[in-house]
């Protein structure tokens, strides 16, 4: 059987039990177009160059597989002390009882299925639009599948500086849940919004977020994926930035058998800033841990800045992947692009694969990238131990120190402290 046929079969099998939701004409068209994109590309396999380091089999299989529910114990829920508007999804289904009212000054919040049934809606210009643009130059069939089949999500339009963050909590309560969520965010001119995400979401989770930031707008995003050891998650974040706009996204990941986070950012307006960062802490002892950050930033305007800062700490056979590219188009003069991916391997069983890339067609730019893999600093470890800090606590201090550069990308002090607290709790739990 040829490769093309194998992919076709894989795709048909996966889609057999899925049904495209029904909505307004424009939404149905967007979904149908996305399904056509998916069928044309076929679901990915390990033989696709873009999936060379990460096996997508469990993401594309017909069966979602199981993921045991993790006992969070006395862990303090994330963002608990932060005044926010809270929306809760349980295994991919919106939970109205656990959520706040969708009313907040400076922003319109709707649920995706409702927004997509309205004949006239601004979402028409965004739903599946950035995802489709993001198919070039690499095909992202799992994102297209998401656009075609997403059954839940949230649609946010910020029209002013939103006074408090909007948080999306994804709970996981059924061991075989298979959730597909699609979120849309539009930040209007000069508006500002912070979106928080946390939770393991489902046994298998496919999430897509499309973010459009108009001139002078600001979008801040902090998310934590983790807790359940056995979950598998594939997320795509497609963003388009207008002039003088700001995009900042940080992700903390711990646990999970398989996580692939793709971030596709297109800078189309002058003087815009895009920062994307991640810290991942992987322990392969619970079966497996595979974490993949895949980033593609396109500079298509002048005097823009992009930063990618990704750090991974891996032990007990955990695997890390980073694929990052900065594409500077002709005319994107004075671009300042920076890309850093580093892994700290706590033992010889763990591994890290990195594929950093720069592709530059403008001549007046500053672009740099660096990728390193290293072990714990023995000198530093001895220094800490000589002061009485036990080896495991000293290792944790060095782990925190290693991750610090990525965590510092979170601008808001309270959010940064909250993420650090979560990280401390994870480390303490691991020490027992």
């Amino acid at each position: 059987m040829g490769m093309a046929q194998a992919k076709k079969d894989l795709t048909e099998t996966r889609l057999a039990d899925l049904k495209r939701p029904d909505g307004a004409v424009w939404a149905n068209e967007a979904r149908a177009a996305a399904e056509a994109r998916l069928r044309l590309a076929g679901l990915p396999t390990r033989r696709d160059e873009y999936w060379k380091f990460t096996d997508p089999a469990t993401l594309t299989a017909a069966d979602a597989g199981q993921a045991a529910i993790f006992d969070a114990g006395d862990e303090v829920p994330l963002y608990d002390g932060i005044d926010r508007l809270k929306l809760v999804f349980v295994d991919g289904v919106f939970d109205a009882d656990a959520s706040d009212d969708l009313t907040l000054e400076g922003v319109e919040i709707e649920l995706l299925p409702e927004a997509l049934t309205k004949d006239i809606h601004w979402a028409k210009g965004l739903y599946g639009v950035l995802e489709e643009r993001g198919q070039t130059p690499v095909l992202r069939p799992l994102a297209a599948m998401n656009t075609a089949y997403a059954t839940a999500g949230v649609v946010i339009r910020a029209t002013a500086k939103v006074t408090k963050p909007i948080s999306l909590t994804y709970l996981h309560e059924a061991e075989t849940s298979d959730a597909i969520l699609h979120n849309l965010i539009r930040v209007e001119e000069g508006a500002e919004v912070t979106v928080l995400e946390n939770g393991p979401a489902a046994a298998r989770f496919n999430k897509c977020m499309e973010v459009e930031i108009a001139d002078g707008g600001s979008f801040h995003h902090v998310r934590a994926q983790g807790r359940d050891h056995e979950r598998r998650a594939m997320t795509h974040m497609f963003s388009r930035l207008g002039a003088r706009s700001t995009f900042k996204s940080f992700t903390l990941t711990a646990n999970g058998v398989l996580t692939r986070n793709e971030n596709i950012i297109e800078i189309t307006g002058d003087d815009a800033v895009a920062h994307v960062a991640g810290a991942a802490l992987g322990d392969g002892a619970n079966g497996a841990f595979h974490h993949d950050d895949t980033v593609f930033i396109t500079h298509d305007a002048e005097r823009c800045e992009s930063r990618q800062v990704f750090k991974k700490v891996l032990r007990n056979g955990a695997e890390g992947v980073f694929q990052g590219k900065i594409l500077v188009k002709q005319g994107a003069q004075k671009t300042d692009g920076y890309q850093l991916s580093q892994a700290l391997l706590l033992d010889e069983d763990s591994s890290f694969q990195a594929k950093p890339e720069l592709e530059i067609y403008a001549d007046d730019v500053i672009c740099s990238h660096g990728s390193t893999t290293g072990a714990i600093d023995e000198e530093g470890l001895f220094y800490l131990r000589s002061r009485g800090v036990p080896e495991d606590a000293a290792t944790d201090l060095l782990v925190l120190a290693f991750l610090a550069e990525a965590i510092e990308e979170i601008e808001d002090d309270r959010l940064r402290e909250d993420i650090l607290l979560r990280l401390h709790q994870w480390l303490e739990r691991r020490r027992g």
Partner: protein, 251 residues
């Protein structure tokens, strides 16, 4: 306090013997200085006592208040009261000086079964001690030793010593890289810690540090052994004549 008997040490990776039978006893309340030419084994002695990897003790013992420290992990030695001020303090980017010190103080207290120091109490104590060592508040917030000048690093070592209040302090060439003013400041810090319940082992190349930290005993180390022991006058003799005469005498 510290009793070292017939200590023989080799490098683990090379078949090289560094210490060839060191005998030394440091009594409570006393300051012992060790001098000697480069390569005589002074720093090795300090590393072996503090538990650094890479050395193999082939013979002999080292007891701290009756407990065999050579069988302990570095953190256990620290909790037992041993402190080494490093010749080259390690820079640890990303770990705040204050966070590190509080972790260390409380880890030692916990290991000894004592109550941990509260954040407020810790802040009060560290501020007072830092002020005495002319360490400004900014330095406490910065990552451990990162961007510190040579003098700042050594003052930071003494601050750690002051916070941890060890019973036995080993200073490994604390004078290296210090100008006269910084050396005075460091020596004042050490002198402030001198008391009847604490012993010091000061490893140094030069007599000038001993102008400020008056030793009770001076030992000369050569080729992995202590070859001569005397009072403070021995340091002056070395300062005037070098090691040549002493080494010739014992050869």
């Amino acid at each position: 306090m510290l009793e070292i008997k017939n200590l023989h040490v080799s490098l683990e990776e090379e078949d090289k013997v560094i210490l060839k039978g060191v005998d030394l006893t440091v009594e409570t309340g006393k300051v012992h200085a060790i001098m000697g030419p480069n390569g005589s084994g002074k720093s090795t002695l300090s590393y072996v006592l503090s538990g650094r990897d890479g050395y193999e003790v082939t013979e002999g013992s080292a007891m701290l208040e009756g407990a065999d420290i050579l069988d302990m992990d570095p953190e256990e030695r620290a909790a037992a009261g041993l402190f080494l001020a490093f010749q080259y303090p390690v820079e640890i980017p990303g770990v705040g000086n204050m966070t590190f010190l509080r972790t260390a103080v409380n880890a030692q207290r916990k290991a000894r079964g004592e109550e941990e120091m509260s954040a407020a109490e810790f802040l009060k104590v560290i501020r007072a001690k830092a002020k005495a060592l002319k360490i400004d508040a900014d330095m406490l917030k910065r990552p451990v030793n990162v961007g510190f000048s040579g003098g700042e690093k050594k003052r930071n070592e003494i601050l750690q010593m002051a916070m941890l209040e060890p019973k036995m302090c080993i200073l490994d060439e604390t004078d290296s890289g210090l100008d006269v003013d910084a050396m005075k400041l460091v020596a004042e810090g050490v002198n402030a810690l001198r008391d009847a319940g604490r012993g010091f082992l000061v490893i140094t190349h030069y007599q000038r540090l001993l102008d400020h930290i008056k030793p009770d005993f001076v030992h000369i180390m050569a080729d992995g052994q202590i070859v001569r022991t005397g009072g403070p006058e021995l340091a002056l003799e070395v300062e005037q004549n070098g090691y040549a005469d002493i080494l010739a005498e014992v050869a």
